[in-house]
Structures are given as C-alpha cells and as structure tokens.
C-alpha cells in the first residue's frame, strides 16, 4: 500500500473525513477522479504524472458536499484554488483536509494557514516556457492575433466544458443563462462564441490560478490557457497581485490602488 493509500485508509477508518477525493485509474491508463468513502477502498487511489485534474472543482458540487468532510488529493494549483475559494468565502475553514502526495511522505494540511505556508514555498509565477509563449504570441501583428482567435472561437461548441471544469466558475446561474434580457447569445455562432470566451476570461481575471483544466476540458482544443495566462501576467505586472496565495486577500479586480497606472486615460 502506498503512503497515500495508507493515509486515506487511516483518515476514513478514524472517521476524520467521510470522503477522500483523489485520483484512480480510468480508461486507457488515464487518471480519473474517485470518491473513496470506505477505508477498504483506499487501495484504488493512485498518484502519478497522469493525475492532472484540479479536484477542487468538486468542492463546489452540492452532491459532493453532501458526502461530508473531504480530504482532497492536491496538486500545487489545487492548493491555490482552495485558497482562492476561501478568499471568496466559498469554503469554510476546517471543511476539508488537503493531502499533498510526495515520494517520501504525505503532507496533510488542515488549515488555511498551513496551505498558505505551503503555497508560499512554491513558485506561483508563470513558468519560463509559459512566459515565452505569451511573448511570442504578443509579438504577432494585431491582424494575425485576430485571425488566430477568430479561427479558434469559430470551432467553439458552447458545450461549456471549460466552465464546468473550472473550480472558480461556481456560479449556480452563469451570466450566459440569464435571458431577460439575453446578455450572451446562446447560439454558438462566431459573435456569440467571442462574447462567451471574452466573458469567461474576464470573469476569471485576478482569480484564475492557471491550473489549465479549461484547456484540458475543451473537446475541440481551444488554447484557453493563453487567455488566462495573459490575464495572470497583466494582473501581476499591473497590480503586483496573485490569486490563490492567501485565504483572505481581495481579488485584484475587487480592489484598487489610488496610483494604479492610467497612461491610457485622457
């Protein structure tokens, strides 16, 4: 039994939690989310390079919340999501445990303060490769960028897998579903797709922790991560602010500084 399985078994057996949300083996060797509720099933848990999903998305699902206190197998982005959800008053202190798998031992984080301390030791910046890709894209001409996104968005099905996979898209009634008046067009035509994708990106500005699940979820492969990373980068450069590093801080766009840049305002 791996250290992770052992820890999960222990937590369930002692009733410290009612469910362990982790990764199990799925189709074709891929990982999938599993909800372990009995100590005897802890052996189903796996953790390796195929375990990519941000499981914090399930913390916001009523069906999962009903199961009771959860221990969540986390990746770095999952921890930042937990802090961001806490900062947005969506989850309460002591409502979950975070299990950080590593080769040696399983680190168990029980408080937001402990998660904050753990996250503080991680590099929450965009990676060098991510920055380079952003730079390459920004260096393209305006028309080239427009054509690129028009082609990408023309393939969008409006299946909302990006929204469903995002742990921070937790509104019970999304703006696209408000129809008196209709704000975002329902049909997946080119204009509707552009407006939907702009809105999705903007509503995550200053909140997105760059877990990448929207892009992974997109069945037609639209690189949504580029939009998110652009906003992550601008929010940091403009306001020296990062999402998901504190359970208490304000979102970048819910606050301001009197001396925010305004060279573009007449």
């Amino acid at each position: 039994m791996s250290a992770l399985q052992e820890k999960a078994r222990e937590l369930l057996a002692s009733a410290a939690v009612q469910v362990v949300i982790g990764y199990g083996r799925g189709s074709g060797g891929a990982a999938r989310a599993v909800f372990i509720r009995e100590a005897t099933k802890a052996g189903d848990l796996v953790f390796d390079g195929t375990c990519l999903q941000n499981l914090a998305v399930y913390l916001m699902k009523p069906e999962v919340r009903k199961l009771g206190k959860a221990a969540l197998v986390v990746r770095p982005a999952t921890l930042r999501t937990i802090l961001q959800l806490a900062a947005e008053n969506q989850i309460a202190e002591n409502s979950l445990l975070a299990l950080v798998p590593s080769a040696e031992e399983i680190v168990l984080l029980a408080t937001f303060a402990a998660i904050e301390a753990h996250v503080a030791a991680l590099d929450s910046d965009l990676s060098t490769a991510e920055k380079a890709e952003l730079q390459r894209f920004t260096a393209l001409g305006l028309d080239e960028r427009r054509r690129f996104w028009e082609e990408q968005f023309s393939r969008c099905l409006k299946c909302y897998a990006c929204r469903a996979a995002c742990p921070l898209c937790y509104c019970t009634r999304c703006t696209v579903e408000c129809n008196q008046p209709q704000w975002i067009p329902v049909p997946a035509h080119d204009l509707g797709n552009l407006e939907w994708n702009v809105m999705r990106a903007m509503h995550l500005a200053g909140r997105c922790v760059n877990c990448g699940d929207c892009s992974r979820a997109c069945p037609v492969g639209i690189p949504l991560y580029l939009l998110n990373q652009k906003l992550v980068s601008d929010v940091f450069t403009g306001f020296n602010s990062r999402s998901g590093i504190s359970a208490r801080s304000d979102n970048a766009l819910s606050t301001f500084k009197p001396n925010d840049p305004e060279d573009f305002i007449r």
Partner: protein, 144 residues
C-alpha cells in the same frame, strides 16, 4: 473614406461626464454629432461587455468617461473601473481587437470644453481608422 461618418458610443457616468457634456451644451459649444451618449450611474457600472455590445451593434468607436480619481460620487467606482479597463484593454489587444477604437477619459462636471475636445478628436481619430468592419463582419458568421 471621405464620406465615412463614424458611429461613436459614449458610456459616461451620471455625476461628472454627463454633467460635463451638459455644460458643453449650455455653454453653446459645438461638437461632433457622431456621438451617442449613454448615461450610467457610475463608471464602475460600465460592464466590459457593454463595449463589445456597442461594437457588435455597429459602433466604430467608443468613449468611456467618468469622474476624475478621488471625485467619484460613490468614492471608489472609478478606481475599480480603471483596474477593469487596464485588464480589459490588454485582453482586447491580445485578441487582436484594435484598442485604439476605445478612448477612456476623465471629464468632470466643470469640463465642458474638455468633453467637446474629446469627442471631436475621437471622431477625427475614428474617421481616420475607418469603419470597424473587422468586428461588424462577425455578425451572422457561423449560422447555417
């Protein structure tokens, strides 16, 4: 494009810029008639999506204007709006949407002359850029 008269939509706050534009009129200053003013309680209420709706409805240029920093009727609406504009401008540019078509400004209730100048110069600028066909052509695309 000598015959092109741009359509400009101005999203303004009630307390400063709208009053400023009113002053322009009561001072009998003439300014470009291409602008359609839409009054909002505060720049903080001007959702970014309204700008896209204006473009989709045929606007060639947009003005967004409100109270100068520290003058907001609700004390911080314009500060919040400013952050949103910074992020939104960056995103538009990233998407290949020409941000030169959106002019942000602070115009107070006492700045009737500034409003006239802002509208005139923006109209001239947009006239130079031509109609925003790049955006308007999206309407109707993707419908079989």
């Amino acid at each position: 494009m000598p015959d092109f008269e741009p359509k400009i939509v101005a999203f303004v706050c009630n307390w400063c810029t709208y009053a400023g534009a009113d002053l322009t009129g009561t001072s009998r200053m003439k300014y470009s008639p291409q602008v359609a003013i839409i009054r909002f309680p505060c720049t903080g209420r001007i959702d970014f999506m309204l700008l896209l709706k204006a473009f989709a409805s045929g606007a060639d240029g947009i003005i967004v204007s409100g109270c100068h920093p520290n003058d907001c009727h609700y004390s911080s609406g314009n500060f919040h709006a400013r952050r949103r504009w910074i992020v939104f401008r960056g995103l538009l540019d990233f998407l290949g949407i020409d941000v030169r078509r959106v002019q942000f400004s602070w115009v107070s209730a006492a700045e009737g002359a500034k409003w006239a100048q802002l509208v005139n110069e923006t109209a001239e600028h947009i006239r130079g850029l031509g109609p925003f066909t790049g955006y308007q052509r999206l309407r109707g695309l993707g419908v079989e």
